[in-house]
Each structure stands twice: as C-alpha cells, then as structure tokens.
C-alpha cells in the first residue's frame, strides 16, 4: 500500500504524492462497494483539496527535495511495536466477532437520497449536523485568517497571505 510508503519515505514531497495515491485507492474501494457519491466526494475533497493544501504548505515551509530527518530508531521501534500491538488486538477482536447485519432492505446511496436526507429536518434528516459543520467551517476560516495573517506585522486589518479555501459550504 502506498499509505505505508507515505509514512515512511524520507522525502516530504514524495510522501504527499504517496498519500495522494492512498486516498485515490480508498476512493477506488468506495467505488468498488458501489458508494459512488462518497468516492466522488473523496476525490474532490481529499485529492482536490486537502492534498493540494498540504502540498501547498510544503512548498511554503520547505524545499521539496530536502530529506526528512530520521526519527530515532528507538522511537521508531517503539511506535511500530505499539502500532502492531494495537493492530493485532483489534484484528483479533474483529475477527472473533460475528458481525450480523440487518435484514432490512437497503436504502440506495443515490445522490437524491443523500441530498434529501442531508437537508431534511424530519426523521433521518441531517440538517442540524449540516448547520453545525457550516459554523465549524466558518470558525475555522476565521481562525485561519487570524493565525496566518498578521503574526509578523503589528498592524491589523492587513490582507492575509494565505487564505485556505473552504471546500464545502
């Protein structure tokens, strides 16, 4: 998996590209499971948004060709061990558990259904979370502006250098 490479490679830019592939792979899995909408969102938001953002920030903060400093071996081993223990534990648990699904008929994950539910206020509607997310994004926006804007200049009200683009809403 390219995800593994993404976390091990020493070049930060390559890491970003590997991440891209991992995300696309996941999108592929969504397709495979016939959740096309999610796959689309995944590609749009992650591939189109977050990864670009990350790459952007990499450009801002670092030269792309520079090798990443290695983590201490002890730490690496310990982290690997911890991760592996966790993995094993969860695998065992998941494996031991018999997942019994619901017998009811499936609701098709079509765009229409999703759209209706997303903005519905009745049973099964997700209007409230939707609003919450919008506030969250607004707040994030404000936060980003303040943090990234004037840190080095004493004056206020200046145009921000970076303006992260909110992706939804």
């Amino acid at each position: 998996m390219s995800g593994l490479l993404a976390v091990t490679t020493r070049s930060i830019f390559r890491a970003a590209i590997y991440l891209l592939f991992a995300l696309i792979g996941i999108a592929g899995l969504y397709f495979w499971m016939a959740y096309e909408f999610i796959a689309a969102v995944q590609i749009v938001v992650y591939v189109g948004g977050i990864v670009v953002l990350i790459i952007f920030s990499i450009f801002l903060t670092q030269q792309s060709g520079e090798k990443l400093p290695q983590q201490r071996l002890g730490r690496q081993l310990f982290a690997a061990l911890a991760a592996f223990c966790g993995l094993a534990l969860i695998m065992v648990q998941l494996y031991q558990h018999d997942f019994i699904g619901s017998p009811e008929t499936a609701t098709a994950p079509t765009v229409v259904n999703i759209g209706n539910q997303m903005l519905g206020t009745e049973v099964g509607g997700y209007a409230l979370p939707f609003e919450v997310v919008s506030i969250l994004l607004l707040a994030a926006l404000v936060g980003c502006i303040v943090i990234a804007s004037t840190s080095n200049s004493p004056k206020r009200g200046e145009i921000p250098i970076t303006k992260p683009k909110p992706l939804t809403n």
Binding site: L89, F99, G143
Partner: protein, 469 residues
C-alpha cells in the same frame, strides 16, 4: 417554529452574538474598550436568558435534545464565558483581534452547547470538533509568542489524533450495533468484548478531552503556551462541558456496561489524581501548576462519576463544576492580572504579594483553598459530595486514596499560599491598579466561592432540575 426557538435558544443566542460580531468585524473598526463592553453586555444577557423557559424537548429526530439540567449546564458555561470576558479585560483590550477572538470562543461554546444536547454520535463528534478546533486556533492568539504556536500545534495534532481514536471507536460501535443514536444504543449493548474495545476507544477520547492520565500530556503544554483567557476557557469551560457529557453518556448510554466502565473510571481516577498531584508538586510556572492541579481535580470528578447513581453522581459533578468555574477562574484571573502587570508567571514571583496587593492575595487564597477543598469555601462541599457519591459503592480503599490525594494537593496549594503570605521579597512589588472589569469578575468569583457552598439551595436547585424528568 417558536417552539424551535425556545428549545434551541441558547444555541441561537450564541449564534446571534457570533454573527453580530462578524458584522461588526466586517464593518468599521470599533475601539476595543467599547467592543469589549458590548460583548460583556451581550454575554450577560445571554447568561440571564439561560434561566428562562427551560424544559425537556428534542428536535431533529432526537439528534438534539434538551432538559432543564442540560440548560442549566449550558448556563454554567455561559456564566464562565461571561466571567472570562470580565477577568481578562486587560489582555482583551490589548489584543489585535478581539472580535475574532470572541467569534472563535463563542463558536467553541456553541460546539459545547450542541455537545451537551447531542443525541447521536454524529452530532457528538461534530460538536466536539466544533468545540476543539476553534480553541486550537485560539491557543495561537499570542501571535508573537513562540510557545503560543507550539501550544496550538500540540493541541491540534493531539486532538486530531484523539478524534481519530474516537472515530475508530464509534465506527466499531456502529459496526456492531448498527446505530449511532444514543437513544437506541443501550438496548443493543451486551458487554461483548468488542463492545468493550469500542468503549475503551471512546473512553480514551473523553479522557483526552478531560485530560485524564495517561491521556493528559498535552494539557500542561497547551495551558502554558496559550493566552490566559484561552487557558482558562480550556480548563474551565471545555472541561466542564466534556465532564457533563461524559457523565450523562456513561450513565445513560453505557449504563448496561457500567461494571466495565466503573473499573475504568476507578483506575483512571486513581492514576489521574496521583499523577496530577505529583506533577503539580514540582511546578514553578503558575499556569502549568494550575494545569496539573486541574488534572488532579478531574481525578476527583471521576470519583464522583464512579458512583453510577443519577441522583447523586450527576448533581455532585454539576455542582462541583459550578464551583470549579468560580475557583479556577479566580485563580487564573489573579494570575493573569499579575502576569499582565509584572510579566511574571512563576510562583516564586508571588512572594510578598500580600504586602502590596491584599485583595488579589485574598482572592487567590480563596480560590486555592476552594480548589484544595478547604471549608468554608465551596470547594469543600464540591469535593465532599463527589467523594460521598463515589463512596456509595463502598469501595473505601478507592475513597481513601482520593482523600489522601486531597492532602497531597493541599501541599502544593499551600506552597502558593506560602509564597503569597509568608515569604519575604527583596524587591517588593508595587500595588497594582486592577481593571474595574477584572475586579468585578474577581469579586463575583470570590462571592461564588464563598456562597455556592454555604447556600445549600444551590445544590438543591441542581437536584430539583434532575428530578423534573
């Protein structure tokens, strides 16, 4: 529609204030002093409004629910918010981004309100993030300070990690039970090991937010780096909100698994109190000191939580948080005043404070005594009720450890008291003229510390709220 407004009035009020601020920000610049006064009035109104028309209701397919108790909890947070706006007036007046600051803080507050009212895991998760991400941004608000951004970085990364863990837990829970609704969940819990696993994941995320040992490590660093206002927001309001949710989630949603979580709570409570106290013992920096002391306080809250008894556990936690709001805010308020006038944040810098600033000293002493649980301050009652509800399981060793931890904690609180009252300082500090807002805030806190305990109706009121449903 009007029903909708009354039910969600606290959220709507806060949202309204956010938007007012947003418009003000977009419009022409107003002087900080005036803006601050306006904000304070709005927050006071908000707090006052919180007392009216509270009843039990739910909206959006049970995604949003409220009870008088939840409304009261929200109002405690409102109160805290108002006090923060008073106490750190010095800093607010100087900051460049006052409106943004409050926008973010109120968004976080809104997140907490929604958190308190959340009826399923999705809302829970979203509002939790809403309550966290703006605060991470806030932590960076001392833009010139290196440690401020370090604090923000630590906060955002660790909270992202913890939300990862949380989500993983939720996903397993969802996989096993097929629901994300709190109402439907208890019936589907059977205590199987995978559910325990999911619970552990969820629990750790809570523990992270409440800074329970061993998930507390971000706390001290973030507290130290963030501006005072943010630190106190984190330590009082977010912690309070999460604690409320924590109790109700454990009691209501995970009630079928209470034997499991009782043990978790107990183990973590002991660890938390011990580690928090041991670290607090050796802190020199007042903020880190208060950070670890608040970790230890959470340990005590856990003792109360462990009672698993609606009629004692919940009110005692709510009551304690109310007192904790007063006490901790008073302590932070005094520390902030001193920091902003002297630029000193070390405990040893407090030596001889009493000579020059008796008012600040007394407030600080009251606050610390309250935190230490010394009568007649309210903290005594708060802690005692927590321990009493914890003792209902007849686990005396546990309660004994908790009680002994009170002694350790007394030691370090007394250390500060000693600096303030007893130690001599070669270069005595000049008396500080305290900003009137701050003074008002400190007086409210002090009055709260004294009166909340002695006046038993406060506690009765909390219990009565509980009995409405």
């Amino acid at each position: 529609m009007s029903e909708f407004i009354t039910i969600m009035k606290s959220e709507l009020m806060v949202t309204a204030i956010i938007f007012i601020l947003l418009f003000i920000k977009l419009g022409k610049g107003i002087k900080n002093e005036h803006l601050l006064a306006g904000i304070q009035i709005l927050l006071l109104l908000n707090f006052a409004a919180g007392f009216f028309m509270n009843f039990e209701a739910s909206l959006f397919d049970d995604m949003y629910q409220t009870t008088p108790l939840i409304a009261f909890q929200k109002n405690i947070l409102n109160l805290g918010m108002y006090l923060i706006s008073l106490l750190f007036a010095d800093w607010f007046k100087k900051t460049d981004h006052l409106a943004e600051f409050f926008i973010l803080m109120l968004s976080a507050l809104l997140g907490m309100f929604l958190l308190l009212s959340s009826g399923n895991f999705l809302m829970f998760y979203l509002s939790l993030e809403l309550a966290t991400i703006p605060v991470a941004a806030l932590a960076n608000f001392d833009l010139q300070k290196k440690i401020s951004s370090e604090a923000a970085m630590k906060m955002i990364l660790s909270s992202a990690f913890s939300s990862g863990i949380l989500l993983f837990g939720i996903s397993i829970m969802y996989g096993v039970t097929g629901t994300i609704s709190f109402a439907a969940l208890p019936a589907l819990l059977d205590g199987s090991t995978i559910q325990v696993l999911a619970l552990v994941f969820l629990f750790s995320a809570f523990a992270f937010k409440l800074s329970i040992v061993p998930f507390h490590l971000w706390t001290a660093d973030v507290y130290e780096g963030a501006p005072f206002a943010v630190t106190s927001f984190l330590s009082v309001i977010s912690k309070g909100a999460i604690a409320f949710v924590f109790v109700s989630t454990l009691y209501k949603v995970f009630q079928p698994m209470h034997t499991v979580w009782y043990n978790m709570v107990m183990v973590l409570a002991i660890l938390t109190m011990l580690v928090g106290n041991l670290f607090a013992l050796r802190q020199q920096h007042i903020k880190r000191f208060l950070a670890f002391s608040s970790i230890a306080q959470v340990g005590f809250i856990l003792v109360g939580v462990s009672s698993n008894n609606d009629t004692t556990g919940i009110p005692s936690v709510v009551y304690f948080i109310l007192i904790y709001v007063f006490s901790n805010l008073a302590a932070f308020g005094v520390a902030a005043v001193i920091a902003s006038h002297w630029g000193k944040e070390k405990i040893e810098d407090y030596r001889g404070l009493y000579r020059s600033n008796p008012f600040l000293s007394w407030v600080l002493a009251l606050a610390l005594f309250s935190l230490a649980g010394i009568p007649p301050t309210a903290g005594f009652f708060g802690k005692l009720f927590l321990l009493t509800s914890g003792a209902s399981n007849a686990n005396y060793a546990f309660i004994g450890i908790a009680a002994l931890n009170m002694v350790i904690s007394l030691y370090y609180y007394l250390r500060v008291i000693r600096s303030v009252f007893m130690d001599k300082n070669e270069n005595p500090v000049t008396p500080i003229t305290i900003d009137p807002y701050t003074k008002l805030g400190l007086i409210i806190c002090a009055a709260g510390i004294v009166l909340t305990g002695v006046l038993s109706p406060v506690y009765d009121y909390i219990v009565s709220l509980l009995q409405v449903n």
